[in-house]
């Protein structure tokens, strides 16, 4: 039995490396760092469900390599991809994020809160993967399922880590700075670099994985369409950089829903162009859907592309808004937990920042701060209320009037 176990473990194919990487991420995200008593308050059931569904990648890989008739494999993989999509859909719910819990602080103003960054990241990654698989199925001359390479997945996983936790941390750090007074110059470039580097690794890795190739060893650029590929890669990277600059002018939190959807559509279309550029680099020839010879692949591919678009354009705006709301809830909770003096200083900086916002954005942020205070327990709420009143009295007249106006609007709304 032991011999059959060892023989079934294919050390060289990268599957155990992939499992180890997934295990690290799952274990760290679900570990009860702040104890078990209030576990659900900082790791809500929907968040846990999203994390335990992450290893679906493993099931998809195993099924793509299984020795079944093609139609059975197609049905199994389609069902798994549907689960892959659904496990991203519920992350757009506001119940994915928890409230402030003591014991998760790992730096000044920073908490280990994957629930504040995971949903937006997962919706982007899964949207890109589903759209990519859709394109791959539609571009084939005849209907067949993709192959699978574990080393390709390992490479893509590095891209996933760059796009979700690393980019999430960059966003959290930038948000902390923005909320307390400074808009750091590095925030746009840092978000752009993590996006482009993460996307490149993700797309290269999954392209190798779904073509059954080993990255670097037998999956390299092919001459043929390099000028067009370069134009697409550079053009889409520039489009993403322009988007970062444009975002600076959007009011945070109170931006109209249409503009937020437009911003995500801009992201999605740029990513599709980047994806096509990557495909051209490694395939070396133009690819287009083949409805005449591959109707099954084209219809399935179009469905997957649509599912991917629903995640990025349809649901991600909602998830990002929920992340922002929950960040404010956690920030106010943290404010209540720190000693009186730094609490006053932080509250003052926060009010000075909010007072500079345009009215609609100011009203939104004041409303979120009030809501965040209302969900605290009684002593914490009293501490925050008292500090707010003390700070309000000391603020310069213009700032106080701006805050009072926002509070009045919020109360009357």
């Amino acid at each position: 039995m032991i011999a059959s176990f060892w023989s079934s473990v294919a050390w060289g194919d990268g599957s155990l490396v992939a499992l180890a990487l997934i295990a690290v991420v799952v274990a760290v995200m679900l570990f009860p760092f702040a104890g078990r008593t209030r576990y659900r308050d900082y790791r809500p059931p929907l968040f846990v469900a999203g994390v335990v569904a992450m290893p679906l990648f493993v099931a998809i890989g195993v099924s793509l390599r299984a020795d079944w008739p093609t139609d059975v494999r197609a049905v199994v993989v389609a069902l798994l991809l549907l689960g892959f999509w659904a496990s991203a859909v519920w992350l757009a719910s506001a119940r994915t994020q928890g409230v402030y819990v003591d014991g998760l602080t790992f730096g000044p103003g920073l908490q280990f809160r994957p629930d504040l960054v995971l949903p937006g990241g997962v919706l982007l990654v899964k949207g890109v993967v589903l759209s990519g698989v859709g394109g791959m199925l539609a571009f084939q001359e005849s209907w067949r399922l993709p192959a699978w390479s574990w080393w390709g997945f390992v490479t893509a996983f590095v891209g996933i880590v760059t796009l979700i936790p690393v980019r999430g941390m960059v966003k959290m750090l930038a948000r902390r700075e923005r909320f307390t007074g400074s808009a750091p110059r590095w925030q746009g470039p840092a978000r752009w670099v993590t996006l482009v580097v993460g996307l490149s690794l993700l797309l290269y890795g999954f392209l190798a994985a779904f073509m059954g190739r080993t990255p670097v060893a037998d999956f390299r650029p092919v001459r043929g369409e390099l000028p067009l590929a370069t134009a697409l890669l550079v053009g889409s990277a520039v489009a993403l950089a322009v988007r970062e600059r444009w975002k600076r002018h959007l009011p945070e939190g109170s931006a109209p829903a249409g503009l937020v959807v437009l911003e995500q559509a801009w992201l999605y279309l740029s990513v599709l162009a980047f994806m096509y550029g990557t495909v051209l680099v490694f395939m070396g020839r133009l690819m287009s859907p083949q409805p005449a010879t591959n109707p099954t692949g084209v219809s399935l591919g179009a469905t997957l592309l649509l599912l991917g678009a629903t995640l990025v354009v349809g649901l991600r705006p909602r998830a990002l808004r929920n992340e922002l709301r929950a960040t404010i809830v956690v920030m106010v909770g943290q404010l209540a937990a720190i000693p009186s003096e730094p609490r006053q200083a932080m509250m003052r900086r926060r009010m000075l920042v909010i007072a500079t916002y345009p009215l609609a954005e100011r009203v939104w942020h004041v409303g979120q701060m009030l809501h965040a205070g209302a969900v605290l327990d009684e002593p914490a709420r009293q501490a925050v209320d008292a500090t707010r009143n003390e700070v309000m009295l000391e603020l310069p007249g213009t700032v106080r009037r701006a805050m009072m106006e926002a509070m009045d609007r919020q109360v009357s709304a």
């Binding site: 079934s8 295990a23 209030r38 659900r40 059931p45 569904a53 099924s63 020795d67 079944w68 199994v76």
Partner: protein
């Protein structure tokens, strides 16, 4: 048990569980597609249920 040790144990436990899951999927892949789908969704559902139940223990009543 100190926190780093507990985290290490959690990581090892998750790794062992994932390898067991992967071996189960490999075995199911030889048996049939339905079983693979069952294991693929069933195991995460059970893990989630265990977390949901375990996290209510010791929880103060509201």
């Amino acid at each position: 048990v100190t926190r780093p040790v507990a985290l290490g144990l959690a990581y090892l436990g998750t790794a062992v569980a994932l390898v067991a899951w992967w071996l189960g999927l490999q075995a199911a892949a030889r048996a049939g597609g339905g079983l693979t789908v069952g294991i693929a969704f069933g195991v995460p559902a059970v893990v989630w249920a265990v977390f949901a139940v375990a996290s209510t223990r010791g929880r103060p009543r509201r």
